[in-house]
Subunit: 397 residues, 2 copies
């Protein structure tokens, strides 16, 4: 047969390196620092058994039926209330329930991007966002980041000299992949610049509540005075990713665009998952549950960082993350983390080469390491093997 | 503030009339023929209580974790097997699990449509598909249908004279909205024409198994010799729409495009829903369950059709559906079903005006009536009221 004639956008989309890697790393002998998977021992399985029985017993017909596109109202209400933790004022009317925050990323690009329009992002930025956005044929402009967030002078230069920037995409807390967190000053300044140059901000915040030390910072959305920030949240990292429930918080008019797009995309997110999560939030204390996750991940962060300090040569730089799931490794420039990944796999250790997190390429001397999904022993063993692989690659000139 | 600069496609998208109506019709005093909602008394609530406990007891960590984009393998396997009912040969490799078949519609357009490309569809066609497709800025060419499917001569004329047709979208069984079913000959002929003119076919089949009389017909996919048919199925009408689980069946290469797009759109569908449905299919007999739904809907179809025959004036034409959820009303040309809908609401009766099902407009003298979601008494009362509204609108010249 003649081959089917696909849309131009399909030339732009390739399989996610992470999701392909995940298939490989599901083999039990692999020590995987590759995914962003929560620790399964943190899942509230017993609680969900109880929640499910209550929901089906008392509310089964509603839970198994179609529901509104915006989401299940009691869940939207409690999501709105929980936003106070990040100092965001919201009501149910500001909340759309999505199928994971990934869907919010897809919708953001769908709402804003004509082919050739510009998305400004951190350098590096989340691979899953790059893949979602690429389907809408944007150009990416990466802005340098340091330990406090984006470089604001560089950002203003970009906004000043490009009039088709549609939005700035940022992950301000324990960024995926870099593990870094924006300062309060940069958050404020970002909103000022977005106001000045009339662009939107997509704030992706899957890890903000998973802070190991210090105070939770106000979300960028907290500083939004003109309704141009859309905040994306998710239950994936604080409850269960298998539920596929996330949310968008935005001002009503802005949110209405997300709702319109949601109707066409999949009508609504799972009613039964929504009713169950609402019931969970009613009868259990999610913050108490999150505290347990924090303790587990803080411990694993400690184990990984101690092992890195011990096993990696001094030529390697890395982030000491104050929360979230990842640390970020910068190798000497002459090293290629993709080549080393193949070597590491011979030791049954997997990670994601960092180059994938730069939409415009380069930076092949970087790597993302996840610590949430492996036990202490595997973390130590895996980092030791990685240290060996890196040391072998050192130029000893 | 200056207003945000949305993408051009957003001018194309408007709220689904059905989903907006649904909000209204959730009030208990409304007799709603408007939605396409399954009868809640058909939901296997007790069975799902058992299924959920088994899944969380024995497989909880897997069910609450991320899973592969393609879907949960045991579920894909059983979906592939069940396709035999429609005479489609498939293995798990041909199956992608989606978030309802609505997501398959969105993906079809995302895969194929550059702005201005043509989608050929039945006239009328499914409103939810029109809305999903419109986000990708296609042109629609509607092809006339009779009681046996699309007019094949008219279709060939369209394909011959337009070289940017990307796919033909059809709902061959108990079509939404018309309630009509394609003959076997037309199904064969459709594939022949798609082969000849090198276009894809998107076969949307949410109701095929809900046949009240006669034999289930082979799917259009059954006649696919060149891998150009993508079949969309769903558990919404045979199990529960609240689960949001559907599927795409296609040849491997074609399916790989859907999988790529799924990664960006929402990573994967709910793991827990997938594991639960797979368990349901393992310990219960879905075909037995479907038989109960068929008996319920056949009865309601009978009640509605008898009431229509009794209450509607002879000037009204309608489909006698052999399955599915809908009948279709053609009023005298001078009537406007949108205006009558407002009148009907005064009697607390709702339906969807048919004009919404024609992507290029017109045909305002038509209406879709759903019979799956109301009991006998309400169906009789609602049709009686509608009959009254229509009779009042008759010109008695």
């Amino acid at each position: 047969m003649m081959s089917l004639k696909y849309a131009k956008r399909m030339d732009n989309i390739k399989a996610s390196e992470i999701r392909e890697l995940l298939k490989l790393t599901q083999q039990p002998h692999i020590i995987s620092f590759a995914g962003g998977m929560p620790a399964p021992e943190s899942f509230p399985i017993e609680e969900f058994k109880k929640v499910n029985q209550e929901v089906l017993e008392n509310n089964g017909a509603l839970a198994m039926q179609y529901g509104p596109t915006e989401g299940y109202l009691p869940l939207r209400e409690v999501i709105a209330k929980r936003m106070k933790k990040l100092q965001v004022d919201a009501t149910a009317e500001n909340v759309l329930v999505t199928s994971g925050s990934q869907q919010g990323l897809d919708f953001a690009a769908k709402i804003f991007i004509n082919p050739g329009d510009i998305i400004v992002c951190e350098s590096p930025t989340y691979l899953g966002a790059i893949n979602a956005f690429k389907a809408y044929e944007p150009k990416f402009i990466e802005v340098s980041t340091d330990d406090h967030g984006m470089d604001m002078e560089e950002l203003e230069e970009v906004l000043k000299s490009n009039d088709n920037v549609k939005f700035i995409y940022v992950i301000p807390d324990f960024q995926n992949p870099s593990g870094k967190t924006w300062s309060v000053e940069r958050r404020k300044k970002l909103v000022e610049l977005a106001n000045k140059y009339n662009v939107a901000i997509i704030e992706d915040n899957p890890y903000g509540e998973l802070r190991f030390e210090g105070e939770i910072l106000p979300a960028i959305k907290h500083f939004d005075t003109e309704g141009r920030v859309a905040f994306l949240g998710t239950f994936s990292k604080i409850l269960s990713p298998g539920l596929r429930l996330g949310w968008v918080v935005a001002d009503k008019e802005f949110l209405s665009k997300f709702i319109l797009v949601k109707q066409g995309a999949d009508l609504q997110s799972s009613t039964i998952s929504q009713v169950e999560v609402a019931k969970f939030l009613e009868i259990y204390d999610l913050d108490e549950h999150i505290q347990k996750i924090i303790e587990l991940y803080r411990h694993r962060r400690n184990v990984m960082m101690e092992a890195i300090e011990k096993e990696f040569p001094k030529e390697v730089k890395y982030t000491y993350p104050e929360g979230g799931l990842f640390t970020w490794i910068v190798l000497p420039e002459y090293m290629n983390a993709r080549e080393l990944a193949a070597r590491a796999l011979e030791y049954n250790v997997a990670y994601v080469p960092g180059g994938s997190f730069f939409p415009n390429g380069g930076n092949e001397n970087t790597a993302r390491l996840n610590y949430s999904n492996m036990n202490d022993e595997k973390i130590r063993e895996g980092i030791k093997a990685l240290g060996k692989v890196i040391k072998e690659a050192l130029r000893t000139n």
